[in-house]
């Protein structure tokens, strides 16, 4: 496989060296240039070709957001990954960057171990995603439907097998939703903003959200969502009793689960068990706990943009033990059509719709006004 060509833009010479090593260590990409000056890097881009740019979120003397916009304007096909050092300032810029077209971000603390496995895996996942995306675009533009056929067919066959095993959701038992769940990863913060900002002020079903995100970033994300959402929104805290008219976001770095407490109350617990699907918080962990805490209830699960397949196993479990309706975000509106694809191909999605349609549908289905 041809390696991805990478440009690194970071004003810290030590970090440039560290990041170059990490990129080379993945074996999937090679660094063709590492620049300490954003202006010169943009010049260089004019007559050189790369597929990926790793851009420092807090580059001295420049606005990384401006640089990001320039790249996206002039070289739309290049994927930009932001490098964040995890400080609050950089977290804010990073989230803003995700809204402005950055694919994702990696957190690199200066002086970090370049052989760090977690980071290496994160880069590998990102690079494979970019490679897959490039290849799909290529085959689509060459109009050769055969290219992906074999894969699709086998996926369809799998589909039919799984469909038989899944308990279909029952519209007659669905008076209204007892709970709404949302899972998101790459591209998620942006998609969540669209989804959350559209809820009416009197939406009164509890909403639990898992967004794959490091611990330092949840606070900034919750605050930014809170300004754009009419429903109260907080990070889930250990011991929180789930109440309607509230959005709970899983904090980064731990798993969020739900327990059945006295008098039909459900409480949130935060636990420190190992990563699942390479992530923590994991949607699978939350969903599986809900399948038991909300056994027999009406649960509406939504899978938004993101790479990987976190959420799929959890939804399968929800379908077994609850009356679960599942919405997957459409490929056209996903930044990365990974998680929605995996539930869709497993035959778990009851509906596939565009991002902007999701909240109106949630409102209708939650109120039992859909069938």
């Amino acid at each position: 496989m041809e390696k991805l060509k990478v440009l690194i833009v970071d004003d810290d010479v030590m970090k440039r060296k560290e990041i170059s090593e990490m990129v080379e260590n993945t074996g999937m990409a090679s660094v063709v240039k590492a620049s300490g000056n954003a202006y010169l890097a943009m010049e260089w881009l004019g007559h050189n070709e790369v597929q990926v740019i790793l851009l420092d979120a807090v580059i001295t003397g420049e606005s990384s957001l401006e640089i990001l916009k320039t790249i996206k304007d002039q070289h739309n096909s290049i994927e930009v990954i932001l490098i964040s050092d995890g400080t609050p300032q950089s977290a804010e810029i990073t989230l803003e960057g995700l809204k402005n077209g950055a694919l994702d971000f990696v957190k690199i603390v200066p002086g970090a171990d370049t052989r760090h496995e977690g980071l290496k895996n994160q880069l590998i996942i990102l690079f494979s995603q970019i490679t897959i995306k490039m290849n799909t675009l290529k085959s689509a533009s060459h109009d050769r439907p055969e290219s992906g056929r074999g894969l699709i067919n086998s996926a369809e066959r799998n589909n039919q097998e799984t469909v038989e095993k899944i308990r279909q959701f029952d519209p007659l038992r669905w008076t209204r939703a007892d709970l709404v769940l949302i899972a998101a990863s790459t591209g998620g913060p942006n998609a969540l903003e669209v989804v959350c900002s559209m809820f009416p002020a009197d939406f009164n079903t509890a909403i639990l959200i898992v967004q794959h995100i490091p611990p330092e970033f949840t606070g900034a994300m919750v605050e930014s969502l809170g300004r754009k959402c009419l429903i109260p929104i907080t990070e889930g805290q250990d011991g929180d009793v789930i109440s309607p008219h509230h959005i709970y976001i899983a904090p980064g770095g731990v798993h969020m689960v739900v327990e059945q407490a006295k008098y039909q109350k459900k409480t949130i617990r935060l636990i420190n068990t190992p990563h699942v699907n390479g992530v923590r918080p994991s949607a699978d962990v939350l969903f599986k706990s809900l399948a038991s805490a909300y056994e027999g209830s009406n649960v509406l699960a939504v899978v938004l943009t993101g790479m990987g397949n976190d959420g799929r196993a959890g939804i399968a479990e929800l379908k077994k033990r609850c009356n679960c309706f599942c919405i997957a975000q459409s490929e056209e509106t996903c930044v990365v059509y990974g998680m929605p694809r995996s539930v869709n191909e497993a035959g778990l999605a009851d509906e596939v719709i565009d991002l902007k349609e999701i909240t109106p549908r949630i409102c209708k289905i939650a109120a039992g006004r859909s069938w």
Binding site: T175, R176, D178, S197, P200, A201, D202, F203, N204, T205, A206, G226, R227, K228, C229, L230, V241, S243, P244, H245, H246, Y263, Q264, K265, C363, A367, G368, R369
Partner: protein, 282 residues
Amino acid sequence: MNNSLSPREFALLQKYIEEHSGIELGAEKAYLIESRLSGLLENYSLGSYEELFYKAYSRKDVIFTRQVFDAITTNETFWFRDKTPWYIMEDLLLPQYIREMQAGRRVNVRIWSCACSSGQEPYSIAMSIDSFLKKNGPGDIGLERFKIMATDLSGSILDLAKSGRYDSVSMERGLDPVMIDRYFTREGNRWLISERIKRAVDFRQFNLKTEPIYSQYYDIIFCRNVLIYFSELTKENILHKIINALKPQGVLFIGASEIIKDASGSLEMDTYQDGVYFRLKG
């Protein structure tokens, strides 16, 4: 044309929305009010949000006022919402009240639906009692012995409730054909609730947050999916008021997925089948 929302305009709209829907919006939601209402500003060629506020406030244009609220809320209302209060009433409460009335120990039963919106809840209460009396009741106790009070903040929504007229979409939410057949008549594309049921409910405009109520007056209070829209402090105050309005042994129903914090410890949580209700101790 000034299209941005000033702090003063936000304060006006915030207060207006709270007074008419009970929904408390914090200062951090200013941006959202702006984005939700900007379309109306444009459609009606209004110069500012202040103009929008006065247009809604004057209530000359009912459709406009309605659109303002539609942009912020969905106003979800259902007939016989949640199954549990209805069978708790029919299995536990109504048989007890009827026994007491027959023994001459009770004159009537007072019920309060404290945020009745367009009337589905109080009318459901009346229909439930009427059906129960027809099926199980002794002939000498009629619906008139049950005094149902229904209140809401919004005068315009109360007018709708009082009219007893519903469109086919609202009829679909929670009503079974037997009930429709028994209590409604069709008027073109609308449905009119029967005069008996309408007469059983007394509608009044009332602000739960600011106005006083009788103490130890009600046997049953329905306060479902109301408190969730208020801040913690307001919630506590309203709950205190509701507890005060209950007779000893009186019953409070809250929404199926709601939680309340009763700091005074005067309520006792009881369960019946899979339903939860609260009883005032004493």
